[in-house]
């Protein structure tokens, strides 16, 4: 078909449900616009040729009134073309602007120069992985200047303005690897914004997620602990600098002795840390309110061990550096 040949010349592969809303209007506008151009240029070229001067002193015919029928048809045709282009692209545009309920949410952070794709379970990657056949809803933020995210095969293209949150969604229809680009020039490292979208079969996506979500893989225990400190949101109330917030700082805590609000004297050891994570308001250090959310059921034993190992590295009484410092890997 001529139609598919035109689309194949112009577009990248179509692998999302948005493709129809973009490709079809493009195709029809293309046909109409090329015909209109040929009509205009064809008439212009023909007149330039057939009405060429036959002798030096020839004058052009006296211009009479313009034929109202031709003129009317010409203007209506042009206006029709303009309205058609607008109307044809309208449904696809509206569709792109409203993510379906229950879409899989991924947070996207753009910075100079790279991407962070954060999954619901906290996993962060620099390439975007999604499951085929499931709508994906991207929430986009910029850390610094203006950026743009474009995934041509999905037909999505969205600017990311600093201090403003933007959103896009798409549903991939074909598994495979696709280009993911920066769509707005954002400085000298712009080409480093080139990344990839990997569309998995649904079962493969779950397997991939299980694989990469094992935070212990390739990390030392203290590294995992530090990662959990950010992911679980501990940093909102506990600093690592000695500065007091809602809760005590983690600096020089492990191995030190404190008074509790009840007047008991406790030493921060493995057991106390475990208790403070799972049921934090049993023994609260003096000077603080019993306001922390219990994390029972939200963290595993192995994760508590990782956090403990990390807290040891923050303390002068945490044991020898050799035993607790992150290993080279």
């Amino acid at each position: 078909m001529i139609g598919s040949a035109i689309l194949a010349t112009w577009f990248p592969e179509a692998a999302s449900t948005h493709a129809a809303g973009v490709d079809e209007p493009f195709y029809w506008i293309y046909i109409a616009a090329v015909l209109a151009l040929f009509l205009f240029v064809g008439l212009g070229g023909t007149y330039l040729w057939i009405f060429r001067r036959q002798d030096r002193n020839q004058l052009g015919a006296v211009t009479g009134r313009l034929n109202p029928i031709f003129l009317g048809l010409w203007v209506l045709g042009a206006l029709g073309l303009g309205i058609f282009a607008f109307v044809a692209g309208f449904p696809g545009f509206m569709d792109q602007n409203e993510a379906p309920y229950g879409a899989y949410g991924i947070d996207v952070t753009a910075r100079q120069w790279g991407w962070d794709f954060t999954y619901p379970n906290g996993h962060v990657a620099d390439t975007l992985h999604v499951a085929m056949g499931h709508p994906v809803h991207l929430t986009l933020n910029s850390e610094d200047v203006e950026h743009g995210l474009s995934i041509p095969a999905m037909r999505v293209n969205q600017a990311i303005v600093p201090d403003e949150q933007s959103e896009i969604w798409f549903e991939a229809t074909e598994p495979g690897a696709y280009q993911l680009r920066g769509s707005i020039f954002d400085g000298d490292g712009f080409i480093d914004m080139n990344s990839a979208l990997i569309v998995h079969e649904p079962a493969d996506f779950v397997a991939w997620m299980d694989e990469v979500s094992d935070i212990f893989k390739g990390r030392t225990m203290p590294e995992v602990g530090e990662l959990l400190y950010t992911r679980l949101g501990c940093m909102a109330c506990h600093t690592t600098t000695g500065h007091k917030l809602v809760g005590p700082s983690f600096l020089d805590m492990y191995g030190f002795e404190f008074d509790t609000v009840e007047g008991k004297r406790i030493t921060v050891d493995d057991a106390y840390i475990r208790e403070s994570i799972l049921d934090p308001n049993v023994s609260v250090i003096a000077g603080y309110q019993p306001v922390m959310t219990p994390f029972a059921g939200l963290v595993t034993d192995q994760e508590i061990e990782a956090i403990t190992a990390w807290l040891k590295t923050l303390s002068s009484k945490g044991g020898t550096d050799e035993a607790t410092a992150p290993e080279e890997n």
Partner: protein, 518 residues
């Protein structure tokens, strides 16, 4: 009367005479020289991009971004916007109105000097520390830029003021220096186009000069008005650039209307309709900036409103196109090489216009708005619209401007090479844009795709064509003097004086005899 000694070119004052001249014809020729220089410089930066797209090694990304930034800045602000009004406008407006000079001759000279100061400052920044912000100078990138942005900004400030002064001059000249008996609707169509361009230049020139200073202040303060709100700068930028650059076809269309009437020896068909259409285009040009912000952080509903509004531009554009066809119909069309450039304008401007249809279609526009597709539309306006109108105008009025004849066949061959080459060079970029390549970034596509090579071949042909055409015009200044005052048998006043015109344009003040009386 001996035309040669009487000519404005016959003065013996040398460079000083040119430097201090307030004669609109000399100003125009000097503008031709300077805009050609800016174009040449812009084209040289463009060559780096072509080399990079063909796999050129050793070009660091920052260097390529710098080349891109200066290529666009020079091509848009120092060529696309000012070329047609300052070269053809300055030369022809007083002549067409039957006036002896512009109404404000000192201001003409000032326009030229500010343009040159702007150009020199921009070139100075190249020496001192070239910027790589991209031509739209996004405010967060400007704040973080390590190059000498202030020099570029002051350069653009002077360029904006130059537009502004040119606009004021056009307006005052049309209001006060029409020949006795010449009403507004007795003015040639080009004079109308230049008059309306005057309003456009006054509005965008002043605003551009001011906001570029604000942007510099944002950079110096590290935050400021535009540092804190990138969208605000983008709105100002496109509010200025959309009328100035995308509607640069307005004066260009006036040039083409005038030439078509002249070469076919006919009245402009639907003269009042064309004037009305140009007025409508002037108004609509200020309502269209949001189309260029589609997919760039603008609220979707706002984008829809702008896109719907811009459908209206189709009507005046169609009416002007209809007038060209109706004027050519049963005309006595000259066989000279200028026809090639008129046809080139029809093709290239036609493509630029229909490309707008894609960008005003909401879903397609959102997908294509930041890609090579939109960037290439700008190339069509620069290399297609403004350049072919300028070349058509130069070939049509060259005998009047210089009193010399150029070689017709060389101009024809050059014109055909230019038309074929430019489309061969730009259509591959359109395809890359639809395939998702980001605007102006085709140079970084890993090749070979065949498209970059095709475009490279196209550029080779374009440059050969332009060198032929420009060389032909330049060489003609040593060549044969034209023996005809009015080679086209055209009916507007500039052809009623000797060739080249004397210093004061007309030996006796002409009177308007009614429009287009052949």
């Amino acid at each position: 009367m001996n035309a040669a000694t009487d000519s404005y070119l016959a003065g013996k004052g040398g460079l000083t005479e040119w430097f201090t001249s307030t004669d609109h014809k000399k100003i125009s020729l000097m503008f031709l020289g300077w805009t050609s220089f800016a174009f040449l410089l812009g084209a040289i930066f463009g060559l780096f991009l072509i080399v990079k797209s063909l796999g050129g090694r050793g070009l660091e990304p920052r260097f390529v971004f710098q080349a891109l930034t200066y290529h666009r800045l020079l091509m848009v602000f120092l060529f696309l916007v000012p070329a047609v009004p300052s070269v053809l406008g300055f030369f022809l407006l007083p002549l067409q109105l039957g006036a002896s000079n512009m109404a404000l001759p000192g201001l003409s000279r000032c326009s030229l000097r500010f343009y040159v100061i702007g150009l020199v400052l921009i070139i100075a920044s190249l020496v001192g520390g070239p910027i790589a912000t991209g031509w739209n100078m996004a405010s967060p990138l400007v704040v973080a830029e390590t190059g000498l942005f202030a020099l570029v900004a002051f350069g653009l400030f002077f360029v904006g003021l130059s537009w502004f002064m040119t606009g004021i001059n056009f307006l005052v000249t049309v209001h006060h220096h029409r020949a006795p008996g010449m009403g507004f609707f007795d003015m040639p169509i080009l004079a109308w186009a230049l008059y309306l361009t005057g309003y456009l230049l006054v509005a965008v020139g002043s605003l551009f000069a001011i906001v570029i200073l604000y942007l510099t202040a944002s950079r110096i303060s590290g935050e400021g008005l535009f540092g804190a709100d990138p969208m605000l700068w983008k709105n100002y930028f496109w509010f200025v650039t959309t009328p100035a650059a995308f509607f640069a076809l307005l004066p260009a269309a006036g040039v083409i209307s005038e030439i078509i009437a002249g070469i076919s020896r006919k009245t402009v068909a639907g003269y009042r309709m064309v004037v009305g259409s140009m007025i409508a285009l002037l108004g609509l040009s200020f309502l269209g900036w949001g189309v260029n912000l589609a997919g760039q952080g603008q609220d979707p509903i706002t984008t829809l409103v702008f896109q719907a509004l811009s459908i209206l531009t189709v009507v005046p554009v169609a009416l002007i196109a209809y007038s060209w066809l109706a004027t050519l119909f049963q005309g006595a069309v000259a066989r000279d090489s200028v026809v090639v450039f008129v046809f080139a304008f029809m093709v290239n401007a036609g493509i630029a216009v229909i490309m707008g249809l894609f960008l005003t279609s909401p879903s397609v526009g959102a997908y294509l708005g930041t890609t090579m597709f939109a960037a290439t539309r700008l190339d069509y306006l620069i290399w297609g619209g403004a350049l072919s109108a300028l070349l058509a105008g130069l070939h049509y009025w060259w005998p009047k401007m210089t009193g010399k004849e150029y070689l017709q066949d060389v101009a024809r061959i050059g014109g055909v090479l230019y038309l074929v080459g430019i489309n061969l060079a730009l259509i591959p970029n359109l395809i890359l844009g639809v395939r998702g390549v980001t605007g102006d970034m085709a140079a970084f596509e890993p090749g070979p795709s065949g498209l970059a090579e095709l475009a490279g071949l196209g550029w080779l042909i374009v440059y050969s064509g332009i060198i032929l055409v420009a060389g032909n015009l330049f060489a003609s200044t040593w060549g044969k003097a034209t023996d005809e005052v009015n080679p086209w048998g055209a009916a507007t006043l500039e052809w009623k004086t000797s060739t080249p015109p004397p210093e004061g344009n007309f030996a006796e003040a002409p009177e308007a005899e009614g429009l287009y009386r052949y």
